[in-house]
């Protein structure tokens, strides 16, 4: 029925399967949309946030998806600026994942602010000294970049490409892509960094505060670095999941291995920097503010030293080492395991830098306050996941996302359509739980 729209040389599941998948993801999406409207119309009393948790699940989700979406800028940087041409085979998907992550972040922010109708004040009345202003500007600009990077992909749809203007536009945008990608990398460097700066500049919160280099706290650099390191891991993980669901290889091993190797070394260097940062903060920064490390990790039911261990060792050092060792990363299972750990690690880091910052009492007579999200917060956080699944489903079906797909899965011209349908039992909807970037 929609075969005219499906890229040439590849095969897709029957339309009913596709519709069923869309339906399931759509139901989840609607649930999230309902919660979103509750928050907009009734106000943020729908959440479990409070005056101690001004930042909570949503801000964590924002930080996490932006870190995970970092694969787009970093892969773009590697391909267009550093000339790693091999990565052209995965760049489209990296861009799509980045686009989903960033649009999700913007949506969550629009729910998170108390007065969404005034949210443009952040631009209009900008305070240039605020890390959040920097985040807002770079985030929106970079989202434009991602849109620009995603547009040619849309334009390459079989039917659209037939329109000469569309064809020419996509062609000229491709030619110019290096400039866009470089701008995107520049913007990403700043907004990923300023997201780190968001916590790092809080000199009233000794748990978050870090010493500065120029005008930026160390977390600025750590966040950029970690996004560059962990973002590609998420791209690899999502690619792997997509392959599993599509039941075919979509990207060649050489590409995967190259990206995994680069990500591994980035993580390895990042985690060393993170360890140095942690030691310096624990021994110098915090004590100078009148706090000992123990105060940050005791007298509460959740935040013990184990959190630190899990983040830095189990989900930091371990996956980094795994990816750096060629033998390990060439094992598909271990590679997937390493990317899963890495994704958990960076998400945990963002959690700690948001939620634990809020939880730690600063005044000695204050108390630890624990938090769990309301269903409205959970639903609105899952909403973008459902939206991401839908966008991936549609894009994968109708756009030439994976340049190597046709080559890796040559069509046998004689194969009847019916047989093909049988071999494509898996529906994209199965991807829902696994594709959750926020949870991963």
């Amino acid at each position: 029925m929609d075969s005219a729209l499906i890229p040439k040389g590849v095969k897709r599941c029957p339309i009913w399967q596709f519709a069923l998948g869309l339906g399931i993801a759509g139901a989840v999406l609607l649930w999230g949309v309902y919660a979103m409207f509750l928050c907009w119309f009734k106000g943020l009393n729908q959440t479990n946030m409070n005056d101690y948790y001004g930042f909570a699940l949503w801000i964590w989700a924002d930080l996490a998806v932006i870190a995970l979406g970092g694969g787009a800028f970093f892969t773009g940087l590697l391909k267009y600026v550093f000339g790693k041409d091999e990565l052209k085979n995965i760049i489209n998907y990296a861009v799509l994942i980045g686009f989903i992550c960033y649009s999700s972040a913007l949506l969550i922010l629009a729910i998170d602010v108390g007065q969404p109708l005034r949210s443009w004040f952040i631009f209009w009345h900008a305070n240039v000294h605020s890390m959040l202003t920097e985040v807002a500007f770079c985030l929106s600009c970079y989202f434009c970049v991602l849109t620009i990077e995603y547009i040619p992909l849309i334009l390459e749809n079989r039917q659209l490409d037939k329109v000469p203007f569309v064809h020419n536009l996509s062609h000229s945008m491709h030619e110019y892509m290096a400039v866009f990608a470089a701008t995107g990398a520049f913007l990403s460097f700043f907004h990923q960094g300023s997201l780190g700066g968001v916590a790092g500049v809080l000199f009233g919160r000794p748990f978050a505060y870090r010493e500065h280099l120029f005008i930026w706290p160390w977390t600025f650099f750590l966040f950029t670095w970690s996004a560059a390191a962990y973002g590609p891991c998420f791209t690899l993980l999502v690619t792997r999941i997509t392959e599993k669901i599509a039941r075919k290889q979509l990207v060649k091993d050489a590409t995967i291995q190259l990206l995994a190797k680069i990500a591994g070394w980035m993580m390895f260097t990042y985690i060393i920097a993170k360890i140095i940062d942690t030691i310096y903060w624990a021994t110098t920064t915090a004590p100078s503010l009148g706090f000992s490390l123990k105060e940050f990790y005791s007298n509460n039911p959740v935040y013990g030293f184990s959190i630190l261990f899990i983040e830095i060792v189990v989900c930091g050092v371990l996956p980094a080492v795994m990816l750096v060792i060629p033998k390990v990363r060439s094992n598909r299972l271990l590679l997937t395991l390493a990317t899963v750990l890495a994704v958990i690690g960076v998400s945990l880091n963002r959690w700690v830098m948001v939620l634990q910052v809020m939880a730690v009492p600063v005044m000695s007579f204050d108390t630890w306050v624990m938090y769990y999200p309301s269903w409205q917060e959970v639903a609105t956080t899952i909403l973008p996941v459902a939206y991401g699944v839908i966008l991936i489903m549609i894009s994968y079906r109708y756009l030439p996302i994976f340049p190597q797909e046709a080559e890796l899965n040559p069509l046998e011209p004689e194969t009847p359509v019916a047989a093909e349908m049988d071999s494509q039992e898996a529906t994209e909807a199965d991807a829902d739980p696994e594709l959750t970037p926020a949870e991963a």
């Binding site: 930042f55 108390g114 209009w124 959040l132 500049v201 005044m363 000695s364 007579f365």
Partner: protein, 272 residues
Amino acid sequence: MKHTGNIGKPKRYGMVIDLDKCTGCGTCMVACMAENNVPFKKDESNKLDSITWLRVYRLTNGKPYPDNEVCYLPRPCQHCAGKHEGHSPCVSVCPATATDYDQETGIVSQIYTRCFGCRYCMAACPYHARYFNWWDPVWPKGMEKALNPNVSARMRGIVEKCSFCFHRYQKAMEKAHMEGRRELEEDEYQTACTQACPAGAITFGDLNNPEHKVHQIAQPDPAKGGRPRNPKVFRLLEELETNPKVYYLSSREWVQEACHKPHLLDQKTAHH
């Protein structure tokens, strides 16, 4: 009248709260809520979403019966100046310039119509002095008559906090200008809580003015970011260098320690 005080120079309005005198009666909180149209809900027992610009904390020395001791500590907005005037934890982070440091008075303001509710300032404030309007404010029928026209009622979705009753400063300045004066007398501008406190525990005035009682009690040291020279006086979380304009006075050492009075901590670390 001849003044040797602080003429023509910027003011630094601040407070000294005598914790020896404070009885924890909460009149300051009531006066503040009445003056500033602070809303109230049917259930205010969840203190995590209860707007109290001025909150009275209950401190204990943590010792078991019968050595247990209690001290009350009223906590308005500390009107931090930060390391350099204006670098308050909250002002520096507000993305929309909705909270501002007034260089004339040293008061940290909040512009309700500008704030779009990102709550970054709340994350930044170690004193929990900032409150978010999680709910639309609703006054029981008839009670909206008691609202003060000098302070606008806030809408849901924005952050609010103690303003040192800035509207009172504006009114006093207006009056002074009408009378051809440029300077205020000490008693012309006082906050609602200062005025209401039956214990007289709160002293309010210009920290830069040697004629004002706050200056005399706190004896701020400008060379050290306003640290008090009076040994009984201290500020909350002095070491964070938030440079607050609210000073506390207590003769009890455990209270000073609970508030992170630096010299005590120095001693403590020296002992170990």
